[in-house]
Symmetry: C2
C-alpha cells in the first residue's frame, strides 16, 4: 500500500505569496535568518518546500520580497498616522512620531527582522534600493513636517534636525522593541516627543490629546 499523498487545496497566487512571505518574516523574527529555511518556511505556510520555487525564482527572491514587505508596512503605518489627525503641524508631527514608537512598528520581531537583513541590504543592490527609498521617504516626511512648524528657520537647519530626529526615533524604536520590560507603557512615546520637541524647540507634549496613549487619561 502506497503512503497517502498529502491532500491540498488550490489557492490564489496572492494568497500563497503572502502566506510564504509572512512565514518567512515570522521565522526570521523568531530565530534569525538561518531559521528561515525553505523547509521551515513551507511548513509554516502549510505547503511543501517545492511550492516556494513555483512562486519565487529562488529563496533569495522570497527573502527580498519579505524585506520589501516589512519596509512597506512600516512606512505605511507612518503615513496612515498623519492622515488620521488634523492639520495642526505639531499634532501631525506628534502623531507621526508616536506611530513609529508603538506596536506594530515598535516590535521586537520587526527589529530582529530588520537587523537580520542588514548585511543583505548592503550587498544586494536591489535591497539597497528598497532600503534607501524607505529611509529617505521617512526622513523626507519628517523634514517636511518639521518645516511646517511655526518657527523662524536658519538655512540648512532642517536637514540636520531631520537627521537627528530620525536617529532618535530609530534608536528608541530599537531599544523600546528589544527591552520593552524596561519601559512603562507609553514611556517611549513620551520620551520621543519630549526629545524631538527639545531638538526642534517646540512643545510636542502639549499636542497629544488625539493620541490613544494620552487622550484617554485626561479627566
Amino acid at each position: 500500500m502506497q503512503p497517502a499523498r498529502r491532500l491540498y487545496r488550490r489557492e490564489s497566487e496572492e494568497t500563497r505569496r503572502s502566506a510564504l512571505i509572512a512565514a518567512t518574516q515570522d521565522l526570521v523574527a523568531e530565530g534569525g535568518p538561518e531559521a528561515a529555511t525553505v523547509r521551515a518556511i513551507a511548513e509554516r505556510a502549510g505547503v511543501t518546500p517545492g511550492l516556494i520555487r513555483h512562486y519565487f525564482q529562488s529563496k533569495d527572491e522570497l527573502s527580498r520580497a519579505a524585506y520589501r514587505a516589512l519596509m512597506d508596512g512600516m512606512t505605511a503605518k507612518g503615513a496612515d498616522a498623519i492622515e488620521a489627525v488634523g492639520a495642526k503641524p505639531e499634532e501631525r508631527l506628534a502623531a507621526f512620531i508616536a506611530a513609529s514608537l508603538r506596536p506594530p512598528v515598535l516590535d521586537a520581531g520587526a527589529v530582529v527582522l530588520w537587523a537580520g537583513y542588514m548585511h543583505k541590504v548592503r550587498s544586494d543592490p536591489d535591497l539597497m534600493a528598497v532600503h534607501e527609498a524607505s529611509y529617505l521617504a521617512y526622513r523626507d516626511t519628517l523634514q517636511k513636517l518639521i518645516e511646517t512648524l511655526p518657527r523662524t528657520l536658519l538655512p540648512g537647519q532642517t536637514r540636520a534636525e531631520a537627521i537627528a530626529c530620525n536617529a532618535l526615533i530609530d534608536g528608541l524604536w530599537v531599544e523600546g522593541s528589544l527591552l520593552p520590560a524596561t519601559f512603562a507603557p507609553g514611556e517611549v512615546i513620551t520620551i520621543g516627543l519630549a526629545s524631538v520637541g527639545a531638538i526642534l524647540g517646540v512643545d510636542l507634549l502639549a499636542h497629544t490629546a488625539m493620541l490613544p496613549e494620552f487622550g484617554k487619561t485626561l479627566p
Copy 2:
C-alpha cells in the same frame, strides 16, 4: 608520493584565540553571520578548521567570544575618551559622545556585526547578559555625565534624558556607519553634540576645542 602536509608554526593560545575571533568578526562584518563558517574562519585566520575546536568547545562559543570582544571594544573606547580630557562636565560629555560617533566605533562592519548577532543575543542568555551589561554600562556612564552638568534637576529627569541621548547616539551610530557618504566629515558628531545639547539644555558645541574634529580648524 604523498601530498605534502601543510607546514605550520606553534603559537600561543592568546594569539590563536584572538586571530580566530578577529577572523570571525571580519567575516560576519563582510558577509553576515552565514559567511562565518568554520572553514572560512580557519582560512582567514591562517589555520585549518580543526583548530577551532581545539581552542573553542564549539563554533557557537567562538561566536559568543567574537560578540563579547566587539562589545568590550566599543565600551572601552568610550571610557578612554573620558579619561583623555579635563574635568569640565561639558567637555567630558562631549568627548564621550564624539568617541561613539567616529571610527573605529562608527564603522559599517561594527554595525553589521552588531545586527548579525541581534537574534542570538535574544535567544542566548549568556549573550543577553553581555549585551545588557554593555548597554547599561553605557547608559549609566551617560547618565552620570549628565548629572554632573551644572543644571537644576527635576526628580527622575536624568533617566529619561539618558535614554533619549543613548537612543540618539545609537541611531546616529547606525546611520552614520551605514551611509557614511551621506554625511560630511564630522557632521555626525556635530549633529550628535548639537542634539544632545538641545535635549539637555546645554551648549556642547561650545566645548569642542579638545576634539580632533574641531580643535585643528581654529585659526
